[in-house]
């Protein structure tokens, strides 16, 4: 979906920028220069750290490695960049450790604050966003944890009916009234149907899961996604005064009117036609 590209949240925008500049598509020359700077600083640091390691028992070193490992998972973006630098430099491992160390120990001790001066801004920014995303995904745009819509469970009921088993569930995830969704489905598919005892939707006609999925997707486009911020966290409200439906976004607070569902023209088919 193009939702991400059109993200509007100012913080999000910043994030995008930072990502671009730091990780995904850095200008190669600039990146190299950055790295060189980094490593120049590192060589000094390396000595220091080695001294430290000699003093400390191996256990501590182990711990550190564990931490780096656990940290690596969190910093996927960062790692990518490092991989590219791998080719250029051999003492990358030490470099990584250093970086991890600096990252983990926070700003508590004086030593690390000294080290922080040597880390380029882009990496710091990256780290900030990583932590922010980890602890406060809402503030970071929350785009990472997107609303997951369960795939529609579509079964055939006999020869001419289709059962859409998890309508209720999907409607709940989309924060929509199931009847609204069902109304839309019927209008789009040009059929009718009913709800059976287990709250499943029985649609007349043969439909495949992918068909239903396509219609659902359009429903989401039309009635769920906020036009301003592309968030799916919206509500559909009906204004009693003018009988219009409005999408109210819970993320950015914007409202937009949506058209009511119209069935449009349906031709009489088969038995119906004969009766007439």
């Amino acid at each position: 979906m193009s939702a991400e590209e059109l993200g509007f949240d100012p913080s999000l925008k910043k994030k995008k920028k930072s990502k671009d500049s730091s990780s995904s598509t850095p200008a190669p020359i600039e990146g190299d220069a950055n790295d060189d700077d980094l490593f120049a600083g590192l060589k000094k640091k390396k000595k220091k750290s080695k001294d430290k390691k000699d003093d400390a028992d191996p256990l501590a070193a182990n711990e550190e490695e564990d931490l780096t490992e656990s940290f690596e998972g969190l910093k996927l973006k960062k790692k990518k960049k490092k991989k590219s630098t791998n080719i250029i430099n051999n003492d990358d491992d030490d470099f990584e450790k250093q970086l991890q160390e600096a990252g983990i120990e926070e700003i508590s001790s004086n030593e690390t604050s000294n080290k922080l001066d040597l880390i380029p801004y882009s990496q710091l920014l990256d780290r900030f966003y990583n932590i922010l995303r980890e602890k406060n995904p809402e503030l970071a745009g929350g785009q990472q944890q997107r609303l997951k819509i369960p795939p529609p469970e579509v079964l055939r009921d006999g020869n001419k009916k289709t059962v859409f088993a998890n309508v209720q569930q999907i409607a709940q995830v989309l924060q929509r009234n199931p009847s609204h969704l069902i109304q839309y489905l019927f209008a789009e598919l040009g059929t009718s149907g009913s709800i059976d005892g287990e709250q499943r939707l029985v649609i007349k006609g043969r439909f495949q899961a992918k068909n239903i999925e396509g219609v659902l997707r359009r429903y989401i486009q039309e009635y769920v996604i906020c036009r301003t911020c592309k968030s799916m966290n919206t509500e559909l409200k009906r204004e009693a005064a003018n009988r219009l439906h409005f999408i109210v976004c819970k993320a950015c607070g914007s409202t937009k009117s949506v058209t009511s569902i119209r069935t449009g023209f349906t031709a009489n088919v088969g038995a119906m036609k004969k009766k007439k």
């Binding site: 059109l6 509007f8 598919l189 043969r206 036009r227 449009g264 023209f265 088919v269």
Partner: protein, 100 residues
């Protein structure tokens, strides 16, 4: 990228959408209906051209509320849209395709 930029779909032209729908018949047969063509077009001529081009039958149905509707045999949705855009010079954003 601007938060208050136009979202692209202004509601002014809401009424003159052309709706192309599909309807299931018995078995795997379908009907395609084209609703809301502007009145200045001659539906009969369009139908004739479409029938010839898509090699399908079709007819014009008069609906009380929606005016005249072209009905075609089979799933002709994409073809009809292409035809409307290229031959009739209609805008793609004014055409809505419904159905699965």
């Amino acid at each position: 990228m601007y938060p208050f930029a136009d979202t692209g779909d202004d509601e002014t032209e809401l009424t003159n959408y052309i709706h192309i729908r599909i309807q299931q018949r018995n078995g795997r047969k379908t009907l395609t209906t084209v609703q809301g063509l502007p009145a200045e077009y001659d539906l009969k001529k369009i139908l004739k051209a479409i029938k010839k081009e898509f090699a399908c039958n079709g007819n014009i149905v008069k609906d009380d509320e929606l005016g005249e509707v072209i009905q075609l045999q089979g799933d002709q949705r994409l073809k009809v849209m292409e035809f409307m855009v290229q031959t009739l010079g209609l805008k793609k954003k004014n055409i809505k395709i419904h159905g699965f």
